[in-house]
């Protein structure tokens, strides 16, 4: 293309480009700190509910790792777990089988979960909308930069809003497109600024908490169903110790070295 370059005022970068980036970085940091502060601390759980979960976890652990037990130990535990899982000894709430199923919308735990979800969404969207409106209102109506790569004409509507020049090359864009580029591109900047160590620790904690199955919580299955299923799983377990046939396996593993000797 032999069209001459559009001459852009060098002052634009100090008064438009850098302020938008600066504001977006600051708002992002503010938002992440605010969500951290607004996060409710871990709630104290009722001991019976916790006991129910942990007993189920214990049964699952037995099911997965039964190979380390001897035959006798295995039989003892199998008997104990099937009997206990089928009784209601570890249930958090012993429900009346004739009662109507509770309406999930009136359940206070459900409401809490919904509230938290709504809070997270609001914290995500409101700042973005405000910044977008601010950029649109404050820096409207002029070309601020030339993109280093060509785009198709389809982007003209979106990226050149407020510029009434129908034949202008799409590479010249208005402030809103710089906003979009920032919106998608600032993630590495945030993660470098905030330091991922704290974030990593937070993630680990969350993972550990999620490891316990969600029984009786919003959307979770009922305890008696899970207990029955686990009892059935344990019922059909056949014992296979890791020491079965260990001599053959060791000999097989080191057969080549033995031959060499």
């Amino acid at each position: 293309m032999s069209t001459p370059d559009l001459l852009l005022d060098p002052q634009l970068k100090y008064w438009v480009l850098l302020p938008i980036s600066f504001v977006m970085v600051l708002v992002g940091l503010l938002r992440s700190n605010a969500t951290y502060l607004l996060q409710p601390g871990p709630k104290l759980e009722e001991f019976k509910a916790l006991r129910e979960k942990q007993f189920l976890k214990r049964a699952a652990c037995f099911r997965q790792n039964n190979g380390v037990l001897t035959k006798e130990e295995f039989e003892n535990r199998k008997q104990y777990f099937t009997a206990t899982l089928e009784s209601n000894e570890f249930y958090a709430i012993v429900e009346d089988p004739n009662a109507d199923p509770a309406n999930p919308l009136t359940d206070p735990g459900m409401n809490d979960a919904l509230m938290n979800m709504a809070k997270g969404n609001v914290m995500n969207y409101i700042p973005q909308t405000i910044i977008m409106a601010w950029v649109n209102y404050f820096f409207a109506g002029f070309v601020i930069m030339k993109l280093p790569f060509p785009l198709t004409d389809g982007f003209k509507q979106m990226l050149q809003t407020g510029i009434e020049t129908p034949d202008l090359n799409v590479r010249y864009v208005s402030s809103i497109s710089w906003y979009f580029v920032n919106l998608f591109g600032l993630r590495p900047v945030y993660s470098l600024l905030m330091g991922d160590l704290a974030a990593a620790e937070l993630m680990n904690q969350q993972q550990q908490q999620q490891a316990l199955p969600n029984i009786g919580g919003p959307g979770g299955p009922k305890a008696d169903k899970l207990f029955k299923a686990e009892a059935e799983n344990i019922q059909i377990l056949t014992h296979k110790s890791i020491f079965d046939g260990i001599t053959e396996r060791v000999l097989e593993k080191y057969a080549d070295e033995l031959k060499a000797l």
């Binding site: 852009l8 005022d9 060098p10 634009l12 970068k13 480009l17 980036s21 601020i144 930069m145 030339k146 993109l147 280093p148 790569f149 060509p150 710089w178 580029v181 920032n182 998608f184 591109g185 600032l186 993630r187 590495p188 900047v189 993660s191 470098l192 991922d196 990593a200 993630m203 680990n204 993972q207 396996r249 097989e252 593993k253």
Partner: protein
């Protein structure tokens, strides 16, 4: 080795390894963007520059941080190191590229 040996990974460690890789790629994509802007590369050349740069970074990560044995640190090493980071880091690169390109162009 008997056939029923399987490698057991500890998920939090895998997660930490991924975060370290991500951090290296974050820095690389921003630095590549700055470099691309300073050189005022345009359109396809810029993306080729990015592709070469990020692959080089991944290669260095592979030899320096994983000691050439990525399967010890990642469950799906080839895909996780070379493919996933390639596309996730494009926006960061494009942002720095646009910014520095605009700054360099405006003052020349």
């Amino acid at each position: 080795m008997s056939t029923n040996d399987e490698i057991i990974y500890y998920p939090p460690s895998i997660q930490t390894n991924k975060q370290k890789l991500q951090r290296a790629q974050d820095i690389a994509s921003l630095v590549l963007g700055v470099g691309c802007g300073i050189l005022t590369l345009e359109s396809a050349y810029g993306f080729v520059f990015y592709l070469a740069g990020i692959t080089l970074t991944n290669g260095i990560f592979l030899t320096a941080c994983c000691e050439g044995k990525p399967e010890k640190f990642f469950t799906k090493p080839k895909q996780e190191i070379f493919l996933e980071g390639l596309f996730n880091n494009v926006p960061g690169f494009v942002m720095m590229w646009c910014l520095i390109y605009a700054l360099v162009k405006a003052s020349s």
